[in-house]
């Protein structure tokens, strides 16, 4: 009996999480009922936008879950002055020794990285299945499979899931795993905060998916949730407002963690010009996240307040300003597209350099281009609003900054191509195929982005399938390709096993062909007059849509090959050595997977990260290696300056 009580109330874990979730949800519900009784209001309010009896528990229950699963145990003990953990138990929740440890609160950045990646890919397949249903509906004009209301719910949740609980956190997962290793740190700066960041993420995904159970269906105002459509939408919209809070809090905490880790925990000798570009990329991304993400959190609270508390931020009849929603929303959501792209740039730099056996061409300009994108990306948001009816004078300056941001992006493309020149290019790894595929598809996405940045063209194609094509070229051909490249590249490091390259190649080629077949024709039907976000369309676009749907199914099926390859290889793949790609960065100098605390002794960094082919050059001296290895001459990239 005592054991059961301990499991339900005292010992951190899933049983306690269940108890606390229920208790906290019940508390929230009771709070609403009691307050409404005292105020003389009817106990339950079922206005479409209201439902406090659902919204308040939807806030308290996840918090109960976080406490129950054990995210706050250490901090709470410390805060009340209770003994925290004895010395020998200090690292009890650190490192994974059985598969069960991946389902617990864990403070090891490598465990958290894998937790992130597996969770985000779960949501990738859920969001992908939604896309398949949409393409089935769109294969023919008219309404066949889902009604327009459900269709609107599907594309809204598809986008919300892919953006907030797949692309952004998948990059956090990869960086979580490799970034501390790359800079020679034993872990992240704040391991417990890191665990909390992870556990907030599934809550966001569950809230998005759970919105389908709401009366009135899932949120259906698009992932952009423009007011006043969103402020008047059924209950599901509140689940979007709340889900974004958890995903946003998770991403802000992770970004802070990365910033502090990168600034304070670099190994001796690891100056900024010796950082691998993946670290630079996450440094820039984190700068964007900490400053921009609070804006979307704020604006979703404003929508929630308009809905539940009858504030009038966006109610024009009561003095609210409809367009201000878009300004605040895009002030986050444009930097967000770089949040979804810069970490990918970092991955591609690692992959291309390693597999062409050459230093990155123009390393410093590559790092500066990242910073240039960070600065410029704060000044382009209104290019999403050229036809929105905002002040017209704001359009031209925003067009100029938008077109200028193509310059640092172009620098990166050309530098990767320069890295290939005079290299010894290995195509044996699927990661390299995805990296080269990315260069192709992202160039197309970048070009259509420049077109969209030109106001006269945007006036015509804004909110059409041209935009759908563009975002999928940059988010699928861009972000998702880089995520695949990263997963394939570090799979041996994370699992200690090799994946099946043959299946990897099949996955790559089907994905590339399916992707091009799906998204290229969308440009054309958009220019010709097909608006986005429609369940039904003019019969003239029927043939193209059928072809697009067929390609989309190929694309969807290809991802199942990836899933099979990853699962089977993780379990049965041949053992990988510590450094199957013969890369120079520090994560490859330790065993695969690395030991729990990464290094017995912190390594010493003595040169740049990509010194392929430079005689005698070294990036790092690992503990136990010959002490007589000298620092190279002060020449080339990576020399202290």
């Amino acid at each position: 009996m005592a054991g059961v009580t301990a499991a339900l109330f005292r010992r951190p874990g899933w049983w306690r999480a269940l108890t606390y979730t229920i208790l906290a949800g019940a508390f929230g519900l009771a709070l609403v009922v009691v307050l409404r009784k005292i105020s003389g209001l009817p106990t339950f309010q079922t206005e479409q936008t209201g439902y406090p009896q659902v919204i308040v528990p939807a806030i308290t229950a996840p918090l109960g879950f976080l406490v129950g699963i054990g995210c706050f145990d250490y901090w709470l003990r410390w805060a009340v002055g209770a003994p925290t953990f004895p010395k020998e138990r200090e690292h009890e929740n650190h490192g994974a020794f059985t598969w069960r440890d991946y389902f617990k609160v864990n403070t090891d950045h490598k465990v958290i990285g894998i937790q992130y990646i597996c969770t985000t890919f779960l949501f990738f397949f859920i969001g992908g299945a939604m896309a398949m249903v949409m393409r089935a509906e769109l294969a023919q004009p008219g309404t066949q499979i889902v009604d327009p209301s459900l269709f609107n719910g599907l594309f809204s949740t598809h986008a919300a899931i892919m953006i907030f609980v797949f692309v952004i956190p998948a990059f956090s997962g990869i960086a979580n795993y490799v970034l501390p290793l790359m800079i020679g740190a034993p872990d992240m700066a704040f391991p417990r905060l890191n665990a909390l960041s992870y556990w907030m993420l599934p809550i966001a995904g569950v809230l998005f998916v759970a919105s389908f159970l709401c009366p009135g269906g899932a949120f259906d105002a698009g992932w952009t949730g423009y007011a006043p459509l969103s402020t008047g939408a059924p209950l599901g919209q509140s689940f979007f407002n709340l889900g974004v809070q958890f995903a946003g809090a998770s991403s802000i905490a992770t970004a802070l963690n990365f910033l502090v880790t990168i600034v304070t925990m670099r190994a001796p000798g690891m100056n900024f010009w010796r950082l691998p570009l993946l670290v630079w990329a996450n440094l820039s991304t984190s700068l964007l996240v900490v400053a921009a993400t609070p804006f979307i959190a704020g604006v979703q609270f404003m929508v929630l307040f308009d809905r539940a508390l009858h504030t009038n931020f966006f109610q024009s009849a009561f003095g609210g300003d409809v367009i201000s929603y878009q300004h605040i929303f895009w002030f986050y959501s444009h930097p967000a597209v770089y949040i979804m792209m810069l970490p990918g740039f970092g991955i591609i730099s690692e992959v291309i350099s390693t597999h062409s056996r050459k230093p990155i061409f123009g390393y410093r300009l590559m790092a500066l281009a990242l910073i240039g994108i960070v600065v410029l990306s704060y000044s382009v948001w209104a290019h999403h609003m050229f036809v929105a009816g905002m002040f017209s004078w704001l359009r031209v300056p925003m067009m100029i900054t938008t077109l200028l941001i193509a310059v640092p992006t172009g620098i990166k493309i050309f530098s990767w191509l320069g890295t290939l020149f005079y290299g010894k290019i290995h195509l044996r790894s699927t990661s390299m195929l995805f990296a080269l595929g990315f260069v192709t598809t992202f160039t197309i996405g970048g070009i259509s982005g420049v077109m969209l940045g030109m106001i006269p063209i945007d006036i015509h194609v804004s909110d059409t399938y041209f935009v759908v094509a563009h975002i999928h070229f940059v988010l699928f051909g861009g972000s998702v390709f880089t995520i695949f490249a990263g997963i394939y590249h570090w799979f041996p490091k994370m699992t200690g096993r090799m994946y099946d390259e043959r299946l990897g190649r099949v996955h790559f080629w089907l994905t590339l062909v399916g992707m091009l077949g799906t998204f290229i024709p969308m440009h054309w039907i958009g220019m010709e007059g097909m608006p986005r976000r429609v369940a039904d369309y003019s019969a003239t676009f029927g043939d193209w849509n059928l072809a697009i749907s067929v390609c989309a199914f190929v694309l969807g099926a290809a991802q199942l090959i990836f899933l099979y390859n990853m699962i089977v290889s993780w379990r049965f793949g041949p053992k990988a050595g510590p450094n199957p790609w013969r890369a120079k960065t520090i994560e490859w100098q330790v065993s695969s997977p690395p030991p729990v605390f990464n290094f017995d002794e912190i390594p010493r960094v003595v040169g740049g990260p990509y010194e392929f082919g430079v005689p005698g050059a070294r990036h790092v001296i690992m503990p136990g290696e010959e002490a007589e290895v000298k620092e190279p001459e002060r020449a080339g990239v990576g020399a202290p300056s």
Partner: protein, 256 residues
Amino acid sequence: MAPVRGVPIGKLIAAVIVLTIVSSVIMLIPDWNGEQGSTAAPKIDTLLDVMIVLSSFVFSIVMVMLVYSLWRWRVRPGDEGDGAPIHGNTRLEIAWTVIPTVIVLVGAIYSWIVLSDIEAHDPDRMVVDVYGQQYTWHFNYPEEGVTSRELHVPIDRQVEFRLHSLDVIHSFWVPEWRIKKDAVPGITTHAFVTPDETGDYTLVCTELCGYGHATMRAPVKVEDSQGVFDQWAQTQEPIPESEPKPGETTPKQLRQ
């Protein structure tokens, strides 16, 4: 041109030019934007065509460099050596920073010129009040004092559309005119079009406005002349008294 360290620069440039021409021709043959129905349409389409050629050029550079390097420097089986330790080339890096900057700035200026051209106001324009409401459109003609569920305009005269929304955001788009603008609750927005082809078109709502968004359409007809338009206007209902005047629209929430 002389080869640079074994790279046939001349041949690569030739390949880029050939690929640019081929892909531009392929991309320019189809009439992507469809029929042109306003004075703005050819200007926007020309800008788009220029961009297509320019994009083909940029894309060709990337593809030629990518394919050439894969063909030329793909490792031979068994070779586990490293590539040439080249860390960069300052002149090249300056070039691919400065040249694209110049290109996009020229593009920006060109776009700005087209923009001010298509948005120039004609003092002799007619005014139409457009009302979007989940999920229908209606049109008031203040000069004629009539209202209709169809949009009729005369040919060759600039029309100023004053866009109003009675509930959520809608967007006014006639693809053949190339002009789009959101109708926003609480404010009046403006779109300027000079139709120069007679014909029947469709007004499409392009801002997600709810479950009926996909079917929020209205018929559009460009009449042969002002006279034909006036005749049509006389057959329409007068504007009802209850209609909100421009600038004093009071949006009500439909889904309360």
